[in-house]
C-alpha cells in the first residue's frame, strides 16, 4: 500500500510504548482453584486445626492443677469498662507525668476533672475514680495456724505501661506529695494518689501497679484483672494442697449494678490462661474442614467427567 509506506516515517511519534506494563502483558502467576490444590488444602488445614485444637484443649484442661506459680485474679462481671463515656474519661498526658496535665487535666475527664472546689483532680477521669479497691489476703493453714501467703504485686502490669505510659510527675524537692500539690484526690478515693503505696516509692502515685492494671480497661463487660502472684517461698511452684483462707476487705460495691465479684486462682500455660474456647473451635472447625474436604472430593469425582465433556 502506497499510503502505508509514505506514512511509515510518521509512525512512531504517537506510538504507545511497547512495555509489558502498558500492554498489560506483565508476567503473572494465574492460580486456579482446582481439585489438586483445594482438596489437599482442606485436608491439611483440617488436620492442622485438629492438632492445634487437641493441643489447646489439653493444655487448657491441665491448668486446674495449680502447678507452677499461681496468679490471683479478681473478676468483675456486668461492669462496662468498655463503655465509651467511661473509656475516654482519662488523661494520658497527665498519667505520663506531664506537669501541665497535672494542673489542667483534659476535658475528657469531665465531670471528674476538678473537685467541687475547682482543684484539678489527679488522676482525673471516671476510670481512675472507680479504682478497684478491695484487698485480699491469703492464709495457708499449716501446723494449725494460718500463715499469710506472700502475694507479689510486682510485675503485674505491662512493662511498657509502668515504665513508659505511666510515670509520676517530677518530684519537687524529692517529695512526691509536693509534686501533687495543687491537685485533689479523685472523689471516690480515700486518699491521694501519692498515698497508694506509702511503703514503696516505686509503686505509688501513677505508677502504682494496681492502678495501672485498673487503668488498662477491659474489652468486655466481664473481665479478670491480675491482682497478685504467688511465687515466693514455698509457693513458688504452686499452691500445695491444703486449707486456705482468703481475707477480703470489701470496699468496692458491685451489687448496685447487679455485678458480681470473684476471686480466681489460676496458673497459666503456654497459651495463656484457661480458656477452652479456642481449643473447641479449632477441633470443631478442623473436623468441619475434613468433612467438607470429603464432600468436595465426592462432588468433584462425580462431576469431573461431565465437565471435561463440556469443555471439549
Amino acid at each position: 500500500m502506497a499510503a502505508a509506506s509514505s506514512c511509515a516515517e510518521l509512525a512512531g511519534r504517537n506510538k504507545p510504548d511497547n512495555t509489558a506494563f502498558t500492554q498489560q502483558r506483565l508476567p503473572a502467576w494465574q492460580p486456579l482453584l482446582s481439585a489438586g490444590t483445594a482438596l489437599p488444602l482442606f485436608f491439611c488445614a483440617g488436620l492442622a486445626c485438629l492438632a492445634l485444637g487437641l493441643g489447646l484443649h489439653f493444655s487448657s484442661a491441665t491448668i486446674q492443677r495449680f502447678a507452677g506459680p499461681v496468679c490471683l485474679y479478681y473478676q468483675l462481671s456486668n461492669y462496662y469498662q468498655n463503655h465509651r463515656r467511661y473509656g475516654v474519661s482519662r488523661d494520658d498526658r497527665q498519667l505520663s507525668g506531664d506537669a501541665s496535665g497535672l494542673s489542667s487535666p483534659a476535658t475528657e475527664c469531665s465531670p471528674f476533672r476538678t473537685d467541687p472546689q475547682g482543684l484539678p483532680i489527679a488522676p482525673c477521669g471516671a476510670i481512675a475514680n472507680s479504682l478497684f479497691n478491695d484487698t485480699f489476703t491469703l492464709y495457708h493453714l499449716a501446723n494449725g495456724t494460718f500463715h499469710p501467703v506472700p502475694l507479689d504485686n510486682r510485675g503485674i502490669s505491662w512493662w511498657t505501661d509502668s515504665n513508659i505510659k505511666f510515670s509520676n510527675p517530677e518530684l519537687v524537692n524529692g517529695s512526691l506529695e509536693a509534686a501533687f500539690k495543687g491537685t485533689a484526690k479523685p472523689l471516690n478515693w480515700p486518699q491521694a494518689a501519692y498515698m497508694l503505696d506509702t511503703g514503696n516509692p516505686n509503686n505509688t502515685g501513677f505508677i502504682n501497679e494496681d492502678f495501672i492494671v485498673w487503668m488498662r480497661t477491659a474489652a468486655l463487660p466481664t473481665f479478670r484483672k491480675l491482682y497478685r502472684r504467688v511465687r515466693e517461698g514455698n509457693f513458688s511452684s504452686g499452691l500445695p494442697q491444703g486449707t486456705y483462707c482468703l481475707d477480703i476487705t470489701y470496699n468496692y460495691p458491685v451489687l448496685s449494678f447487679q455485678g458480681t465479684k470473684k476471686v480466681i486462682f489460676s496458673t497459666v500455660s503456654w497459651m495463656g490462661g484457661k480458656n477452652p474456647f479456642l481449643g473447641i473451635v479449632y477441633l470443631v472447625f478442623g473436623s468441619a474442614c475434613i468433612l467438607t474436604g470429603f464432600v468436595m472430593l465426592a462432588v468433584h469425582i462425580k462431576f469431573q467427567k461431565q465437565n471435561q465433556m463440556d469443555v471439549e
Binding site: R84, S96, D98, F223, V268
Partner: protein, 1104 residues
Amino acid sequence: PVNLFEQFQRVANAYFLFLLILQLIPEISSLSWFTTIVPLMVVFTITAVKDATDDCFRHKSDNQVNNRQAEVLIDGRLQNEKWMNVKPGDVIKLENNTFVAADLLLLSSSEPHGLCYIETAELDGETNLKVRQALPVTSELGPDIRRLAEFDGVVVCEPPNNKLDKFTGVLFWKDNRYSLNNEKVLLRGCVLRNTDWCFGMVIFAGPDTKLMQNSGRTKFKRTSIDRLMNTLALWIFGFLVCMGIILAIGNSIWEHQVGAHFRIYLFWNEVVNSSVFSGFLTFWSYIIILNSVVPISLYVSVEVIRLGHSYFINWDRKMYCPQKDTPAEVRTTTLNEELGQIEYIFSDKTGTITQNIMTFNKCSINGKTYGDVYDDLGRKTEINEKTVPVDFSFNPLADRKFQFYDHSLIESIKLGDAMVHEFFRLLSLCHTVMSEEKNAGELIYQVQSPDEGALVTAARNFGFIFKSRTPETITVEEMGKLVTYQLLAILDFNNIRKRMSVIVQTPDGQIKLYCKGADTILFERLHPSNEELMSLTSDHLEEFAGEGLRTLALAYKNLTEEHFKEWFKILQEANTSVDSRNDYLAAAYEEIEKDMMLLGATAIEDKLQEGVTETIASLSLANIKIWVLTGDKQETAMNIGYSCHMLTDTMNEIFIVASHTGMEVREELRKAKEHLFGQSKDLSNSHVFCEKMQESKQDSVLEETVTGDYALVINGHSLALALEGDLENEFVEVACMCKTVICCRVTPLQKAQVVELVKKHRKAVTLAIGDGANDISMIKSAHIGIGISGEEGMQAVLASDYSFAQFRYLKRLLLVHGRWSYFRMCKFLCYFFYKNFAFTLVHFWFGFFCGFSAQTVYDQWFITLFNIVYASLPVLAMGLFDQDVNEQNSMDYAKLYEPGQLNLLFNKRKFFICIAHGLYTSFALFFIPYGAFYNTAGEDGKHIADYQSFAVTVATSLVIVVSVQIALDTSYWTAINRFFILGSIAVYFAILFTMHSDGIFVIFPNHFPFVGNARNSLSQISVWLVILLTTVVSVMPVITFQFLKEDLNPTLTDQVRKLQKARRKQKPLQNYMRRVYRTNSRRSAYAFSHQEGFGELITSGKNM
C-alpha cells in the same frame, strides 16, 4: 478553592462533610476528627488532580477546533482569524479542501457562474460532490476584495434550525430582493472541493450552525454500574440508618436498665442527661462509626481504576494505527466498564465501515471475466502483497495509485481486442467527470461520485485517457492517439432510470450511444441477439455481487444519423415543454435506449475498512447487535451490508420498509412481524399472549420464539414515520428481533432518535460509532460514543467518548478492554463492599457488649488508615491488572462477553452475597476473639483481655483476612499485586509498631494511647492462634463455595481459564481466524453515489 467548592456539590462529598461536622460535636464524636478529615483530604486531592488534568485535556482539544484559522475580511483586508471569533455578517474566504467554518451564504467563487463544489460527507455521509451556486449578482463580485468589503446586503432568514436540506431566506441588496435557498448556502462541516477559493458571508456561526443544531445536547454520561452504585449507596445508607436506630434504641434501653445503676462511674454529664437523649446522640455517633460501609474512598477508587483502564486503552499498541499515526484515545474516562456491557452498536457507514475509496476491481467483457488472479495450476488465488500488479508504466498518464492484478486484461488491450477497446472507450466517454490538466502529464479528475472516478481512472490506466471536455466535445487519448468525439447528448442519470447514456459522434462520423446502468434495468433494453452473452454476464454479475462489489452493466448501440436526428427532435420538444418536462424527457430517453448491445460489466469495490468483516462476525458472536445507520442510499447501504456479511443470502428474510405513509409502514412492519412469528410454532398464541404482557417481558419472550436470521432495511422516510407515536413499539419490536438492521437515508437527528428509541425500550447499553459530523448526535445520545479519528474531520472525535483510527479496533476495545474493565470493576466493587462490611460491622457486634455506647473496636488511627492505606492498594491493583482470561481468548471466545450484557458479575444479588460474606467475616472477626479473650490471661499471667489488646487482635485479624481474601480473588498475580498485598501487610505492621512505640507516645501522649500494645499482644502465642483461627474460619467457606461452584456449575470463563492453563503447558496458542468466503450470491442494484443534474450542467457549459 473553586474545585473544592465543586467537590462539595457532589452529594457524597457533602455527606462526608456533614459527618465531619458531626464529629466536631464532642458529645457525638465517637471518633477523633482526623479519622474523617485525613481520608477526605486524600480523596479531595486525588479528585482535584484528576479534574485538573481532565480539564486541561479537554481544553486542548477544544482549542484545536476553536483556533482553526479562517480568513476573514476585516477593514477591506483579509486577515486570519480564529474560528471562535467568526461572527454572523463576516465575509470569509475559503480555500480548496478546507472546512467551512460557519454556515455561509455563497457570494462568489473561483469557478465560473459562481459555482462551487462541496463534499458533505461530514454532514450526511454522502460521498458525492454537491454543487452550490452563488446568486448571479453576487458572483460578479469575484475575488475583488474591495467590492466584497463593501458588500452590505441584508439577509433575512429562518431562525437557526437543524434541517440540513432546507434553507429559506431573502437577501436585500441594492434595493433588490433575492430569494435564497439551500443551493446558495454552504453549511459548516462541509469541505470545499475542486474550487480554488470562494467567498461567503456568515449567516450562522458557532452554536447556531446547522451542524451544531443537529448535534444534540451534551449529556453527562453515567454507566449502569454508576447508577447501580448510587442505588446501592442509598440502600447502604438506609441500612446504616437502620443499624443506627437499632443501636440507638439499644442504647436507650441499656442506659435505662443497666447504665442507671452505674451512675457512680458512668455519670451523666451536663449535656447528656436522659436515656432517650443519649440514644439520640448514640444514633449519630454510630452513623459516624458505621459510615465506613460507604467509604469515601469508594468513588475515588472507582475513578482511579477507570482512569487506569483508560490509560491501558490509550497505551494499547494493538489499537494504534501506524498509517495514521493515531493511537486509541479515551476521551471520557468514566465509561470503561460499560464497554463490557454493550448490546447494540449503531454504526455509521461511510468512513467507518467503508474507507470511502472506490476501486475498479473486476470486469466482465464480452463474456470473459478479468480481475481474478490464478496461480500456475489455474486455481483462483487470493490477492496479497506478493501478487504482481499490472505494470502501467507504458502509460505516462496512468494514475499510480491504481492497481490491477490480472495481466490478461492488459494483454487483450494490447492485442487490440475490439470489444475490450469498446468497453474502455465507453468508460472514458460515458460519465460526467471533469478533467483538469495542471501540468503536462498530471491529469486531475474532478469527480462528483467516487464510483465514476474509479471507472474513469481505470479506463485511463488501461490506455483510454479522458483528457478534456467542452460542452460539445470529449477528448480522449486512445492508446496514445488523441481522438475527439462530438458529444451529442447526455441522457442523465436519475434514481428511476438508474442508468446514464451519452450519444457521441466519432471523428469518422459514426454515431454511438453508450450506456451504463443497473444490470436489471439494462438487460431489459438489450437487443434480443444478446441472449447468450447476457446469461453469461449475468452469471459474472452474480459472482461479483456475491463478493460485495458494486456492479454496473455496460452497453452500446450504433445509431444511424437519421434515427438520431429523428430522436433529437423528440428530445428537443421534450426539453422545451413547459409542464411535466421530466416525464417527456424520460420518455424520450426511453425511446432511444433500447436494442442495445451488451458490452460487459464492471465491478467496483467500495473498500471496507480493514478487518471489518471479521470484527462484525466476532461482535455478533458476542451477541452484540449491529445496526447500520447511514445517510446513504438504500442500494449502497445494502451492498455494504452484503460485503461485510451483515446481510447474507442464507438469511431467512430481509424485510425492506420503504413506504411513504404511516399506514404503509405499519402494514409492512406488521407483515414483517407476522413473518417472524410465522416461523415460530405457535403464532396465534404468542401473538395474543404477547400483547397482554408487559413490554419488556414481551420482548424477551418474543426474542426467544424467533428462530432464524432476519434483517430489516428501512429508509429515512419510513423511519421518520416509524418513530412516530404507536408505531414506535412495533418498530422496535421487529427491529430488535432482526439480526441486522440497516437504516438508510437517515438524518443525523434520526440517528439519535433511533439510539434513544433503543435505549428507551430495551434498556440495553448502546454504542454508536461514526466518523463524521453527522454522527455527532448519535454519538452523544448513545451510552458510549466512538469517533473514528485520523481523518480530517474532528467533530465526531470531539463529541465522542473514545476514538481510534479503524473500525476493527472496536473488537479489541469491546472484547478485550471492555470485558476486562467490566470484569475488574465488578470484582473490585464486590471486594470493596465485602471489605468495608467486614471492617465496619464488627462495631455493630461490639455494640451489644459495650452498652451500645458507640465505642469503636479499633484504634482510631486504624480506622483512619484502613481504607486509605492498608486495604486500598491491593484492591486497586486487582481492579487495574486482573485478567481472568488472556486477551487472545477474550477475542476467540466471544461468548465470554455475555455476562457483561446480562450484567451478571455485579448486580443486586451479587451485592447481597458480598454483604453476607462481609457480615459473616465480621461475625467471625468479632466473636472468635471474643470467645478467646473471655476471662483469659496472657502467658505470663498478665491480663490480655483489655480493650486495647482486643483492638489490636481484631485489627490484625482483619488486615490478614482481607489480604488473604484478595489473594484468593486475584486471578492474575503480577509483581505489582504481590508487592501491594505483601506490602500492605508489612506497612500495617510497620505503622502498628510505630504508633505503639514509646517515642511517639512521649511526643503526643493523648493521641497515641496504645503505647507498647503491639509488642505485648503480638508476642502472645494465643493472640496469633486467634488470628490464625479467624483467618481460617473466614476464608475456608469461601474456598468451599468457589470450588463447588466451579465444579458443579462452571461458567465459560472457568472453562476457558482451565483450557488456557492446560494450553500454556503444551504450547503457545495459535489462532486461525478463517476468513469466510461467501459462495452465495445475489443481484446487485445500481449502487451508485450519483446525483442527477450534472449532465445538464455539462451540456449547458456552465462549468467550463
